[in-house]
């Protein structure tokens, strides 16, 4: 049995999957995903759709914070630009979704480039405060550019359509979302096997050392903002097509904190962690809802307490993960996997 790294060729060193089992598992998972809309009800489809969107957004944020080390509290603003861009291009401009989403995402990238400029001079908590301010400025812009955004009320989004058929139900949007989740995951996974990705990690680990070995800090910090906001733009666009309405409250500071919590709980600097975090954070309120529903018999007021219970559980989850499992769910998964790999001969 193989119990160490036996990489004797470049090909084996570059492999994503070390054994065949994960490949089989992945194909099975994708096949199962393709069949889900046939069996799942609207409720679970809706949850799955939101998970898919959160995965894209969380990977984007993880590229910026987890891999490049640039703290941003402005992720909700990126999502908002993506969502409003898609909605305006798609509904008011009449563009098809396959043009609206990439265009809006490109716009978000441009926006992220501007957003990222403070990172050239600031780091750590100063950058965090700058992005916090940028979030409020963006929200203000969206609310007050009434001609385009219809202010606080927002506006309805025409559903995306494929070959004349509108994607107006959860199972149709499902395919659109997961058709973008899969390439998003693979692009990110491969990004960190390239020069660009390694440069990001170098900037995170020691910016001075990185610039000494020839990594242009300016270029790679801004590039991280661009890539991260492109992901957020796509996620925002999908949010617009999924909920078919855009309004400013959907992109409050709490959303940005949600995404931060996803990558903290999932695991910083890990693509798998972003996925785990997105799943965890999306399922958390649903589980609480289920719990409250089952409690209504004993305690009739339970349903009204969900919002506050969610805040408490959410906060406690962040605190507990930071204290006891700072590497997040991805690390738990790695330990779990390596335990079973050699089971029952652990030593």
């Amino acid at each position: 049995m193989q119990c160490g790294d036996f990489r004797v060729s470049y090909a084996s060193d570059e492999r994503i999957f070390e054994t065949r089992l994960p490949v089989v598992g992945l194909v099975a998972l994708l096949a199962a995903l393709a069949l889900v809309p046939l069996v799942a009800g609207t409720y679970w489809l809706d949850v799955l759709n939101r998970i898919g969107i959160a995965i894209i957004g969380a990977i984007g944020l993880n590229i910026l914070i987890g891999y490049t080390g640039q703290i941003s509290i402005g992720h909700a603003a990126f999502l908002a630009v993506g969502a409003y861009g898609t909605a305006i291009l798609g509904s008011k401009g009449g563009l098809p979704f396959w043009l609206a989403i990439p265009l809006a995402a490109a716009l978000t990238s441009l926006f992220g480039l501007v957003f990222g400029v403070p990172s050239l001079r600031l780091k750590g908590l100063y950058l965090a405060i700058a992005t916090l301010a940028a979030h409020f400025i963006t929200t203000y812009g969206i609310i007050h550019w009434e001609k385009m955004t219809n202010g606080v009320l927002g506006f309805n989004v025409t559903p995306a359509s494929v070959l004349g058929r509108p994607l107006d139900s959860d199972e149709r949007v499902f395919y659109l979302i997961y058709a973008l989740v899969i390439p998003a995951v693979f692009f990110a996974k491969n990004l960190f096997r390239t020069r660009v990705g390694r440069a990001f990690i170098a900037v995170r680990d020691r910016d001075v050392a990185a610039s000494v070995i020839g990594v242009s800090l300016y270029r790679y910090k801004l590039l991280a903002f661009v890539i991260s906001s492109f992901y957020a733009g796509v996620a925002g666009g999908l949010m617009a097509y999924h909920s078919r309405i855009v309004f400013p409250d959907a992109f409050s500071l709490l959303v940005a904190i949600d995404y931060l919590a996803m990558i903290i709980i999932g695991g910083m600097g890990s693509i798998l962690g972003s996925i785990f975090g997105a799943v965890f954070m999306t399922l958390l309120p649903e589980v609480l809802k289920l719990g409250a529903t089952s409690l209504t018999g004993v305690y009739p007021n339970a349903f009204g307490l969900i919002a506050s219970a969610r805040d408490i559980v959410f906060g406690l989850a962040i605190i507990i993960f930071l204290m006891y499992e700072p590497q997040g769910l991805a690390w738990i998964w790695l330990r779990f996997r390596s335990y079973w790999k050699l089971w029952p001969y652990a030593y």
């Binding site: 703290i71 001079r121 780091k123 301010a133 931060l260 307490l305 506050s308 906060g315 962040i318 605190i319």
Partner: protein, 299 residues
């Protein structure tokens, strides 16, 4: 005096009064940062907590003011101790992102607990000051603003004396200056961290009480006032107590003036965003603020 000037002066005066409350809330923020380099991203929730506890003790439990206010402050101190001991001490020395996130985490818990206990409806808050406006020359001034300003100034003066002369205050300044030296001279650094959190929760609670009585009610939108500490501390300097006072008043006046003069042009809401625009500008030009220590690492 013409109307234009009266309008301007009125904006400035209310700005100073509100800004004084910002100074008070920012004081707590700066003390925490100075002592332990922790940036508290949940200042709004501390304000909310104080305001809600004060509401509960004064109106809900119908305690007299002389009992209710000290009781509120004691509860605020307990909150400070719980946060410092339970949440921040285990994370000493962790990366910045972890510390930032943990402050978001406890802010969320505080918000959830408040919401669960008292609900999110607007609660009427007792007016602690007389409401009849009086005139200073042609300018009407509401006593609420005047008294809140006086109260804040007294509190800030008391804190300055505390830092200057008391043993604990000296220990806090020593810790802020150099942790290792302070520790080797027998200052309990952990005690100072805890004390700075207690002071922060107390001044935030006082800020919440003053804001609550100025607005005549408490609800969750009070937390937005807490976020104003970011422009204040960046303008004044993240580690400067003097900067807090100047920064708070400047931001208060600035947001009132921009609200008064720019709202008709931009269609409202300028007041909320102007401090953040200033914040970004200062960060780009002079990130250490007016009075901060010039040791911001340039990248």
């Amino acid at each position: 005096m013409n109307d234009q000037l009266v309008f301007l002066l009125q904006l400035v005066i209310t700005g100073i009064a509100v800004g004084a409350v910002y100074s008070l809330m920012a004081l707590g923020f700066v003390l925490i940062y100075k002592a332990s380099t922790v940036v508290n991203f949940g200042p709004g929730e501390l304000v909310l907590f104080g305001a809600y506890v004060a509401w509960a003790t004064i109106l809900n439990m119908k305690l007299p003011l002389v009992v209710a206010l000290p009781l509120t402050l004691v509860v605020a101190i307990l909150l400070g101790l719980v946060i410092e001991r339970g949440v921040l001490r285990p994370l000493i020395g962790e990366p910045i992102i972890s510390v930032i996130m943990v402050t978001f985490g406890f802010a969320s818990v505080v918000r959830g607990v408040l919401n669960m206990t008292w609900g999110s409806d607007t609660r009427p808050f007792p007016a602690l000051f007389a409401s009849e406006p009086f005139r200073l020359g042609p300018i009407p001034i509401s006593p609420v603003h005047l008294w809140s300003f006086v109260a804040v100034m007294l509190l800030l003066a008391a804190f300055s004396l505390f830092f200057k002369f008391s043993l604990l205050g000296t220990a806090m300044r020593a810790t802020a200056d150099n942790q290792q030296v302070a520790q080797s001279l027998g200052v309990s650094v952990k005690g100072v961290f805890a004390l700075s959190w207690c002071i922060a929760t107390v001044v935030s609670a006082l800020g919440g009480i003053i804001l609550g009585s100025v607005r005549g009610g408490v609800d969750f939108s009070l937390a937005d006032y807490g976020l104003k500490v970011f422009p204040v501390v960046i303008l004044g300097g993240l580690d400067s107590v003097a900067g807090v006072i100047v920064g708070g008043v400047l931001i208060g006046v600035l947001e009132n003036l921009s609200g008064g003069y720019l709202d008709p042009i931009f269609g409202g809401g300028v007041k909320e965003v102007a401090p953040f625009v200033v914040l970004v500008l200062i960060l780009m030009i002079r990130p250490y603020g007016l009075f901060g220590k010039v040791d911001v690492e340039r990248v």
